[in-house]
Amino acid sequence: MPDIHMRPTVVIGLGNTLMSDEGIGVHLVRALVVRANQFPAVDFRELGTAGMAVLHTLAGRRKAVLLDCVRMNEPPGAIRRFNPDQVASGKVLPGFSLHEGDLLEILALSRRLGEFPGTVILFGIQPASLDVGDSLSPVLAARFEEYLRLIAAELDEYAS
């Protein structure tokens, strides 16, 4: 029930691991969990495609770091660190279904509810492949350690 052991920072991995690079955020957070003892002030959450769970996971945190596959007009495999104020959504959604998700809208709702952490950082990774398959494309797989280093550096201020 309510997480009384909630740590001030949360790293959230998003995406669908059945659609190759779409799952990069989940793959990264799984790799970070393995070294979680380096980051005693950080919770790691794998939220997959449960968009609204992001809202609840942000509540009560000082800092959130979100890892996701992002289409941002960069070469495949590129990683960019940004905050939500630096981007506008390119999605056009008809609003037919709960299954459509726009992370930026969820972040806006969190802000509106007064639950938005003081710092929210996104690491976006441009996909090389969104084909069906449960492994990353060679392009992203080759850069995986680089992504982990960049994200870990973001968490360093909380490292033991």
Binding site: N16, T57, R71, S97, H99, L104
Partner: protein
């Protein structure tokens, strides 16, 4: 949308890069409807290819990723099918805790649907974000209930979504009795919040369009409860029931030249699944507060107004909380027993069905003697509803064609939203422009 003097031309298109969302197309001239279409590409079948060649022990993990909203339903349908194929029996405790987990998904999904998709329509807002400014109390109630659903799910399924505790034969970890008692208290506290949401929707219920079309409704029935998990396939068109292993004889998928998605039909040229279908089939078995909510909305079987699917979802929200409280009582009375599922694979074919929030979900798998999946067939609720949405459009558009084009568009969008189709769940990646 464009409007000329005597021509109505509505096209709600979602341009997609991956697999497509639904489109609404209406063309009319001089008040005569020339074209009405609900267009949806075939829902992805590639998940079936993905589980072929995989171990029986991996199936649930894979299919739970099909959907972020219905991951418990997909997991349970798969596990039931695996158990059916391999002759695995589960304990009463497992059965009860699975139903309890399933209800957590209902809480999340129904509350989100009513609060995030339908309430903005009824209150004239584009989405829940502006609604949070105009109606903060309502949004807080919705989010509080959804958060309760999330925590409920985390307790039983081990995660807010994509369950990790579900295994063929049982659970890999169990909640403690203290945790179940805590959940019970929180559910009791949630009932007045649910009442608030129901009252808010009730006060707007006259804004739900008064459209009815006689429809065949299909869902699981067991003749003794408002079932979401057990039972055979029933229809409002007859008393016969069909075992879930014969679901193909109910679904009868066919191709229509009007649609890119396959359609489904049983006794007529379309049918509907989902909350309103379950209500129409099983309303006699509602718990007291759920029955009271239905009465407050004037919802009686058989209701054929698709917009009332949302009302049926609210009624079901009471039902699942009331039944969850009883289940927790029963589990606590028996005492939570540690169980380690020990099952061995064997060759066979099996089917599993559950009521997902959007309707009846079927999974079928065949395995070899090592438990390697040889074939799979997944039939999702949304595919069963497409033909019915189309038939609703065909009946409704001529009734409203003389109205303002913006209103026609909104009414049709609301109609689609009432079904809450699962049109694209597999990719959620952000698409951004740097500003």
């Amino acid at each position: 949308m464009t409007e000329k003097s005597n021509t109505l031309n509505i096209e709600v298109h979602h341009v997609t890069r991956i697999e497509g969302h639904g489109n609404i197309v209406v063309r009319a001239k001089d008040g005569v409807v020339e074209k009405v279409e609900w267009q949806v590409p075939e829902a992805p079948r590639f998940f079936e290819a993905m589980v072929r060649g995989r171990s029986w022990e991996d199936i649930q993990t894979i299919v739970s990723r099909i959907c972020g909203i219905c991951s418990v339903s997909h997991s349970l349908a798969a596990i039931k099918a695996i158990e059916n194929a391999m002759g695995i029996q589960v304990s009463q405790q497992t059965d009860r805790l699975r139903i309890l987990s399933h209800y957590a998904e209902y809480m999340e999904s129904h509350i989100l649907h009513a609060g995030y998709l339908v309430a903005p329509d009824l209150l004239g807002q584009k989405s829940v974000v502006p609604l949070a400014a105009s109606h903060p109390d309502l949004v807080k109630t919705v989010i509080g209930l959804h958060r309760l659903g999330n925590e409920w799910m985390e307790l039983l399924a081990g995660r807010m979504t994509h369950p990790v505790t579900f295994k063929p034969g049982g659970f890999s970890s169990l909640p403690s009795e203290a945790q179940l008692r805590d959940l019970q208290q929180r559910l009791v506290a949630g009932l007045p919040e649910l009442e608030k949401l129901a009252q808010a929707v009730l006060s707007l219920a006259d804004r739900l369009p008064a459209f009815t079309r006689d429809t065949e409704y299909i869902g699981l029935v067991d003749g003794q409860s408002y079932t979401f998990y057990h039972g055979a396939i029933g229809s409002t068109d007859g008393k016969e029931t069909v075992p879930v292993r014969q679901f193909e004889s109910v679904v009868n998928e066919y191709v229509s030249p009007q649609s890119t998605a396959k359609w489904a039909k049983w006794h007529r040229d379309s049918y509907a699944v989902g909350a309103l279908a379950r209500f129409n089939l099983n309303a006699a078995y509602l718990r007291p507060q759920a029955a009271k909510a239905a009465k407050a909305f004037g919802l009686k079987p058989k209701n054929c107004n698709p917009y009332f699917n949302t009302v049926a979802q609210l009624v079901e929200s009471f039902q699942i909380v009331e039944h969850a409280l009883e289940i927790i009582d029963a589990v606590l009375a028996a005492g939570v027993k540690s169980e380690t599922p020990k099952v061995a694979p064997k060759a066979g074919e099996g089917t599993g069905a559950v009521e997902a929030p959007r309707g009846t979900l079927f999974h079928r798998y065949a395995f070899d003697e090592k438990g390697i999946c040889l074939k799979a067939n997944l039939c999702i609720p949304t595919n069963q509803n497409h033909a019915n949405i189309q038939k609703d459009f065909e009946a409704f558009v001529p009734q409203i064609i003389s109205r303002d084009p913006q209103e026609v568009r909104l009414l049709l969008e609301m109609l689609v939203r009432a079904y809450d189709p699962c049109v694209s769940c597999s990719t959620h990646f952000l698409d951004v422009k740097f500003v």
